[in-house]
């Protein structure tokens, strides 16, 4: 309970710092590059398997009531609305959040944050705000990228492996996946990016000098797990609000 209150207070301070203080361009570009481009290889591998899997698994499910022809619709809608944004958030969030939490808790444990405060530099503005901006920019882009790769992989799975008709698959995607769905997926990425970064910064920031090196491990672990759980729950809330 106390942690939740602490988190809300941290979120409020971070949001104020983020909105009032747009970070310097070079820091922002560096952070965004690290978060975004650094995750591309991982995300590509994941989405290829997830997309192939989505095709193969839904084929197995739909075969039971003879609905194989609607595979494109299912793979398209399920992937773009739900699977790819959540997967990008959970996995890239794990990678990015862990590194954010590790770097911040390292600074906290070696008292670099206190040193900044002594120099009257607000660590919220200087350390937290650029990281929040960077991930909030990077994750929606990663989500969009995952959509493209994922649909490509689903197509490959459906057509080359399962021998379905490629034209039917694509026309289903064109017919049922609307622009709103893509935008909703990307917008989900925006929210996930912000919340993952915020949780990671919070856990990194909570580490204290007395925790020692183990504090870094605890902070990164909590950043990964809490980030993933919060993203999945938020995904339900957003889907419910938008499609329910």
């Amino acid at each position: 309970m106390r942690v939740a209150l602490e988190f809300l207070r941290f979120a409020q301070r971070a949001l104020v710092a983020q909105l009032t203080h747009f970070p310097p361009m070079d820091a922002l570009v560096r952070q965004t590059y690290q978060a975004g481009v650094g995750s591309i290889a991982l995300l590509t591998m994941l989405t290829v398997f997830a997309g192939l899997n989505l095709s193969v698994q839904s084929y197995a499910t739909f075969e039971r009531f003879g609905g194989q022809d609607f595979l494109g619709m299912f793979a398209g809608i399920g992937g773009v609305r739900e699977l790819y944004p959540v997967m990008a958030a959970v996995v890239c969030g794990a990678r990015i959040g862990a590194s954010l939490a590790a770097s911040l808790s390292n600074m906290k444990i070696s008292e670099q944050v206190e040193a900044l405060e002594v120099m009257s530099i607000d660590p919220m503005r200087h350390l937290v705000a650029p990281r929040l901006w960077a991930v909030t920019i990077a994750l929606p882009l990663l989500c969009g990228y995952a959509d493209v790769i994922g649909i490509g992989a689903s197509y490959a799975g459906a057509v080359w492996q399962l021998g379905l008709d490629g034209g039917t698959f694509m026309s289903q995607i064109r017919q049922f996946v609307r622009l709103q769905d893509l935008l909703v997926g990307v917008m989900k990425g925006l929210v996930f990016g912000w919340i993952v970064a915020l949780i990671a910064c919070f856990h990194g920031y909570r580490a204290a000098k007395r925790d020692g090196a183990e504090g870094v491990g605890v902070a990164t672990n909590r950043a990964i797990v809490h980030g993933a759980v919060v993203c999945i729950v938020l995904n339900l809330v957003m889907s419910w609000a938008l499609y329910g």
């Binding site: 994941l46 084929y59 794990a94 999945i232 889907s239 329910g244």
Partner: protein
């Protein structure tokens, strides 16, 4: 050229490590007390995150599936989609991903810390095989705990799907239950459990491998813990795909 060969070297090293683990696990002495101690810790640490992660997925499947099925007037069939998706795919995969995030990283961090502090070497000096005492119990604990957690998440996933289908989505309760029990065979449940054993083994294996490989200080430990999470998730999805292909080929 080394960067081209590097992945193959890693895969080979992991395969050799796996062989080592199997050989060690198959021969006595075995440390049952240590295994059970780790299992308790894993269950305690994982049960809440795993439950919280899988329950919303059932709800989302109901939510989206209902919209799609309504186009064809097939709302009654929703529960068979929900059941197959949860039992066969999402509950095992997500439960294992969360076990990797929560337990895998902590196992890797623990082994890595022991390595950095020289405790692994100390064990070897005392003629306690570190593979036997530290790595194998972790792998076995993961392989047993993941299916156990999967039982709980199966129930949670279908229950949350029911909430979004019946009271909120307006599907008839009788039809929901009927299609759930008619379309879902015990084979679906066992396939999910089997996947969990495979995924759990992958989690424990990669955690042990990356933990034992740690060289240097606290930073390397943190790196190993993070790598365990991301690499295990990739491995889980890869294994999942292979399993799906095999099952499809076998007509299950």
């Amino acid at each position: 050229m080394t960067w081209l060969l590097q992945p193959f070297a890693t895969i080979g090293a992991i395969a050799a490590f796996f062989g080592d683990v199997v050989r060690t696990a198959a021969t006595s002495p075995r440390y049952f007390a240590e295994t059970i101690r780790i299992m308790w810790i894993l269950v305690g640490r994982c049960i809440i995150p795993v439950g919280l992660a899988v329950a919303p997925v059932g709800a989302v499947i109901s939510l989206q599936g209902l919209e799609l099925f309504r186009m064809f007037g097939l709302e009654r069939m929703l529960s068979s989609l929900l059941g197959t998706a949860i039992f066969r795919e999402y509950s095992p995969a997500l439960a294992s991903v969360m076990v990797a995030a929560q337990a895998g990283s902590s196992i890797a961090a623990r082994i890595g810390t022991m390595r950095v502090r020289g405790q692994i070497d100390a064990l070897a000096v005392m003629s306690v095989d570190p593979m036997r005492y530290v790595v194998v119990p972790g792998v076995i604990a993961c392989a047993i705990v993941t299916p156990l957690l999967n039982v709980i998440t199966n129930i949670l996933g279908v229950a949350s799907g029911w909430v979004f289908a019946v009271p909120l989505g307006g599907v008839d309760h009788g039809a929901f239950m009927e299609h759930l029990t008619a379309q879902i065979t015990p084979a679906d449940l066992w396939i999910g459990m089997g996947k969990c054993v495979l995924f759990g083994t992958s989690v424990g294996l990669l955690a042990g491998y990356l933990g034992m490989k740690v060289k240097g200080g606290a930073e390397a430990v943190g790196q190993a813990a993070n790598d365990t999470v991301t690499q295990t998730i990739v491995l889980i999805l890869f294994v999942d795909y292979i399993v799906s292909m095999v099952l499809l080929g076998a007509g299950l």
